[in-house]
Subunit: 501 residues, 2 copies
Amino acid sequence: MTHEQEETNGLGGLCGWESGPDPAHHAHFLRSALELLVDKAVLQSTDRNSRVVEWVQPDDLKKRLHLTLEDDPVTQGDLLKYLDEVIRYSVKTGHPYFINQLFSSLDVYGLVGQWVTDALNPSVYTYEVAPVFTLMEFEVLSEMAKHVGYEEHDGLFSPGGSISNMYGMLLARYYRFPEIKKQGITGLGRLVAFTSIDAHYSVVKSAITLGLGSDNLILVNVDENGRMDVNHLKECITKAREEGGVPFIVCATAGTTVLGAYDPIERVSQVCQIEGLWLHVDAAWGGGALLSPLHKHKLRGIHRADSITWNPHKLLASPQQCSVFLTRHVGLLKDCNSASAAYLFQRDKFYDTSYDTGDKHLQCGRRADVLKFWTMWKAKGTKGLTKHIEKLFTMSKLFADKIRSRDGFTLLLEPECTNVCFWYAPPSLRGHEDNPDYTTRLHAVAPRIKERMVKEGTMMITYQPLRERHNFFRLVLQNSQVNEDDIDYFVRQIEIHGSDL
Amino acid sequence: MTHEQEETNGLGGLCGWESGPDPAHHAHFLRSALELLVDKAVLQSTDRNSRVVEWVQPDDLKKRLHLTLEDDPVTQGDLLKYLDEVIRYSVKTGHPYFINQLFSSLDVYGLVGQWVTDALNPSVYTYEVAPVFTLMEFEVLSEMAKHVGYEEHDGLFSPGGSISNMYGMLLARYYRFPEIKKQGITGLGRLVAFTSIDAHYSVVKSAITLGLGSDNLILVNVDENGRMDVNHLKECITKAREEGGVPFIVCATAGTTVLGAYDPIERVSQVCQIEGLWLHVDAAWGGGALLSPLHKHKLRGIHRADSITWNPHKLLASPQQCSVFLTRHVGLLKDCNSASAAYLFQRDKFYDTSYDTGDKHLQCGRRADVLKFWTMWKAKGTKGLTKHIEKLFTMSKLFADKIRSRDGFTLLLEPECTNVCFWYAPPSLRGHEDNPDYTTRLHAVAPRIKERMVKEGTMMITYQPLRERHNFFRLVLQNSQVNEDDIDYFVRQIEIHGSDL
């Protein structure tokens, strides 16, 4: 379609302010927007020949975008131009060379599921307004619980792993002290929680939010692979009791954020059983391995967990956000969180109101995060999800193998999940490992290489320090389109951008 | 395109399991899915000639849908059929006759903004991965803060009004007792919060979650219009102090859920100032009135609030979810909630990391809820949003006027927001108001009419009891496509379905 045709078809007209679709006014705009979406936001933005990002500093980007909200409306054509700018300057998180975060890729089936959700715009709290989504949540939660090995389960979708982890701590607190719901925690003694020093920071945020305070979240040591040290856990529990604290929960991690370590869940669960503590497993990142016969042993014992966080938007590559909270305590979510709002959860409805699931949530209105993941699962079958997961692990191993003996690269540890952590030392640093400023200089390498890559838009990978370890790179895979050529590309990119440092 | 063509174009092929788009395999599927979306989920589902819902009881619906997740993949054609079923049996919340909840309508610009967001699949925590969305959040929060009247502000987007209200209580607690972050609330005395008896139930959920306990949320009386009784508030505060409690926050409401009442914010703020309490205003529902010169007086004094919840997905008809939390205490969100994760918020980045806003949130990964609303605002201009809001108020008033003197209808009160609460008494009940079983029989009318409407799919409106008031209907408008004909239709539908009861 030519530009002239567009204008005669009405994109030159003002947008109009009423809040619903008018076929005469919107049909052409909608279809033009969809062309833009498919061509630029989907296909071009995931094409290996395109840049991952067109980097612009914040102050400059403000000038390039038409962000300012004004009094007057714009034309449909101008609106499309602004959306085109949004696409252009956004990071292409679906690009195979975006391996920067614990989410990536753009799954077509997931995306279509999400688009359908948006068009239906449901809120999942009553069967009355979300019949399909309600039943679909039951189905997906039930299948996920099967893979966990739960005989009975309850659960919900939450807006992210941090909130799911908070649900775990919240349930644990209520399970131990149901009077908390009415009376609060004042007067109950000093509640103490335990997690490893490598656990996700949302565990400390939960401890703060729930009124425990960060001092009362005890950070347990990890072994050289980043797994919780179970002996130290026992010591910490004993010490906390001696100091007058009231231990009530251990948060283990299946797939730590940085190292990708799996805590020894079975051994931790034995400690929890003996000590009478709730076991929450944060499998937000590593939970996807449950779908692989080859890798699920890493989560052995997870069926003993009282509650679990598992995010399909991570290893399973569902669009954001899709986070699941599961518990084997049926009914406890509702007991803990219900407020029985009479205006929403009427009891004189003409259907079985046990399908009105909203009152077990902290949210009231709630987006449907289930359809995108259900669409993917339906499309690929469980077998397809397994293939996806196993390819990720295979490619991560391949990357580790490629850099293992390559000049300048040093693996921090053998990967358990799809995280591969490594240092890259440019030629100028090699052989100087004993120099007093070596670590300081090495520390500066990763940020510099990252900066160059981002400015060229060739690749995005992350780096971070960890305790005594200076900055190191971390490759993370969730995109099963990434193949051996891409793995070679990643290695070469680091060398290209780092060899002269 | 004919069915035969579809098949030869590949919709008969299996979906494939890799997690990224492959133009050869997906382009036709994508375009077919988009046709389905536009025709059925957008245009047909908002057409007045279509049903609002095709009602099916849960057990029957399970049989009609292909919900079961299986081992094997399906064909692209089958997947589209299943999505078609999802659309068919979902409630059409964008339909003009869906006036059942505090959200409705399907704004084309909002929807397109949402679809673009999905395709870009960002997580808004660092500028590095979400440059456009980060700047856009600043712009929208800043414009909203202007309409509040804040001279300075800080804020964030949260997954719904309930979580936004929790942010308010969380900040209030930290502001009063910053030591809480490390030490928790044990030992600080019994913290007490205040809200009206008609406040949203998320306030009690917040009190429970934050460890205060529901007993320590004092419910203040309301006047006959549902507004907080400021004298009773003062008495409650005094009484709480006398009983050894530590008052720290008042949550006022601008637009209560059921009656649509606006608490007298200015007077409440004076009490808060005198008593040294944080004032949070839950304007999730009624905040949209700030965009109308005619109606913003209802929120007079809101600029004095310490924090505010305001959901564009309610009166402003943005797609779900779009909830904003604002505070006039710059920097407090970060002080209260930060955990300074070194793997995400690196300080040695090559740009100004004050643009990395994630650490002030409870969430880590976070969907971008801003683009859909920004797209609407950009499309319509502030003037368009004003027209939208004012039409809603006008149509609500029109509905109230129409039923005011109509046989069988009784207004509960004059509407302040777009809620219109009313009883409908069928002819058989009229004139029997003094019978002892009158209220019991009236109580049964609304559920019965609702059931009939839903089963026919002609309209969805909600009802509820409130304290001593038996079940009454509540019309709520957020859809500015609703016109006078629709208003007449609503009245007639109630009569048609209720006249023989």
